[in-house]
Symmetry: C2
Subunit: 324 residues, 2 copies
């Protein structure tokens, strides 16, 4: 009977495409370009047809699939966790940057530059097993809300992008996250928030060590960053992990430029999508001058390369998954 149920499902699913696959997008040129691309690569009789095995779509996370203001959510987690760890053992706040972070003084941490950020990440993201770390993240997501929207962070996903991910999968694409954010951090919520399983998440990762000294061997998170999945690191990581040049890439900042450039430079039909944060009323408006999500190259060169520049204020009828 199971096989029969699956068969019925397989027969019904294609009909879903008669409905609007992107209901939270206005009837804009962006939406039309995206749908025309998907129609083109999935039409078996068309010259742009792409086999399902090659329908790889990659998306940045921060600022592309969920919000990233006033600072990357993972950094807020890092500061919160540091404060919690310091309650048990104040001696871990051994530098000015760590003290500032535990007090939530973001400004001072950022003024400390790269070294300060690494100190904060090392102190808050290592010293436990991967499983223990991910339990902490899950607990934090369940109990913390965003200072501006008062939404749980994992409800600040962009509903139009959640729809785009689902639409692509319905059309035979395999969807991946390729983010400068932390691999272990994202895996905690990406399955539920985006329908993307752990093995389709690429991100920045710290050093890990195999520890077989316990009864049950585990992987522990250690200090030090092993790979930074940003800028040129994105195409490099995609090549290593997926081994195929994607046919669709989505991002929102210059950290995504190389990924979109590499994706859209391939033979045959390709699509680059850049989310442009233009909506100061419903979200945030920022691009060229923003320390978070800085977008210059994409705006200057993207249009000539045929990339879709999504105008958030005009192209999206709804922003957050967690609020209408």
């Amino acid at each position: 009977m199971k096989s029969l149920a699956f068969s019925a499902l397989a027969f019904v699913l294609p009909m879903a495409s008669w409905a609007d696959p992107l209901p939270s997008w206005t009837d804009s040129a962006s939406k039309q370009q995206i749908i025309a691309f998907v129609d083109s690569v999935t039409d078996p009789s068309g010259e742009n047809y792409v086999t399902p095995a090659e329908r790889i779509a990659v998306f940045d996370n921060d600022g592309t699939l969920w919000a990233e203001q006033p600072v990357y959510f993972q950094f807020i987690f890092a500061m919160d966790r540091l404060a919690e760890l310091a309650e048990k053992d104040p001696s871990i706040l051994s530098t000015p940057a760590l003290k500032a972070a535990a007090e939530g003084d973001l400004q001072t941490v950022l003024e400390g530059g790269h070294d300060a950020l690494i100190e904060v990440v090392n102190a808050s993201h290592s010293g436990s097993s991967v499983e223990e770390f991910q339990s902490e993240v899950a607990e934090w997501l369940n109990t913390t809300r965003h200072p501006v929207t008062d939404l749980p962070y994992d409800q600040m996903t962009y509903q139009p992008m959640v729809e785009l991910l689902r639409y692509l999968r319905d059309e035979g694409f395999k969807t991946y996250i390729v983010s400068g954010g932390g691999l272990h951090f994202m895996r905690v919520f990406a399955q539920e928030a985006y329908g993307i399983p752990p093995e389709q998440i690429l991100g920045t990762y710290g050093e890990t060590v195999y520890d077989s000294s316990a009864d049950t061997p585990v992987i522990n998170k250690a200090p030090g960053i092993a790979f930074i999945d940003d800028k040129e690191g994105k195409p490099i990581n995609i090549e290593r992990t997926i081994g195929k040049r994607p046919i669709l890439a989505g991002g929102n900042s210059d950290g995504d430029f190389a990924m979109l450039e590499w994706t859209t430079a391939g033979d045959g039909p390709r699509l680059g999508v850049l989310v442009h944060h233009t909506d100061a009323d419903r979200e945030w408006a920022y691009d060229r001058e923003s320390p978070i999500g800085r977008l210059v190259d994409g705006l200057d060169k993207g249009p000539d390369m045929g990339w879709v520049i999504v105008d958030m204020a005009n192209d999206w009828s709804r922003i957050y998954t967690g609020a209408n």
Copy 2:
């Protein structure tokens, strides 16, 4: 009509399991243990049931899925390629190890130890784009034969293991390679030889760089090894790339010990499978004393951990895919 055809297929496929899923295995205890495990984790009414998303199976390649004697096939490729490159530019043979390798003098290279091996790999595996390198590998596989069996290397896959991979996939498993061999090298033949796509291959990889100076940006192979996917590196790479602890792991040497140990230490039903090379007539017989595929820990500790130790001479009725 396409949907209808898929529906028919979905209805017919389960019936294939009535036939023997492992015809190249004798009716041994090993085979019975493997089938009992698969039956157990796929029975929705049983207490050992595992959801398809968690049915992750990982396999070493050299000595587990294909042969590895008299030396790893990739190393024969490296020596052949070095000789070819030296024909055009003899100056690249700048060290004794490189000269020896280009002459096929394996003994001298091995005596040079780790540094000599790195020299040979760097000289033969870098300096081109990933695509160019993989074209070279494909050409080599198409034109070269094994010195002992006279078979093409990619026909020296173990037919019983090819059947096991297919059986696992038919039962809802996702099959991965996790090998000390080169990532880019394996991706050339793994889809056809094993039915395993590029994104399910984990291996050792060299440094790569993103080069956007050309008209079409590419990923180039650079000197230097970025990650060695052996011993503790295997569970570390699985955690990074797949993000789940597998429920089945297969290997053949002590380089696979940590992977099998980590896999079988997880909660619930787990299976470790070690291929023991016991067949001097049809293949090779080696274990504790072999410089290639050394197997000591697995033989000493595996049985107590419930691992299946495959006795190649007795458990397999056929060895190579390319020869009956």
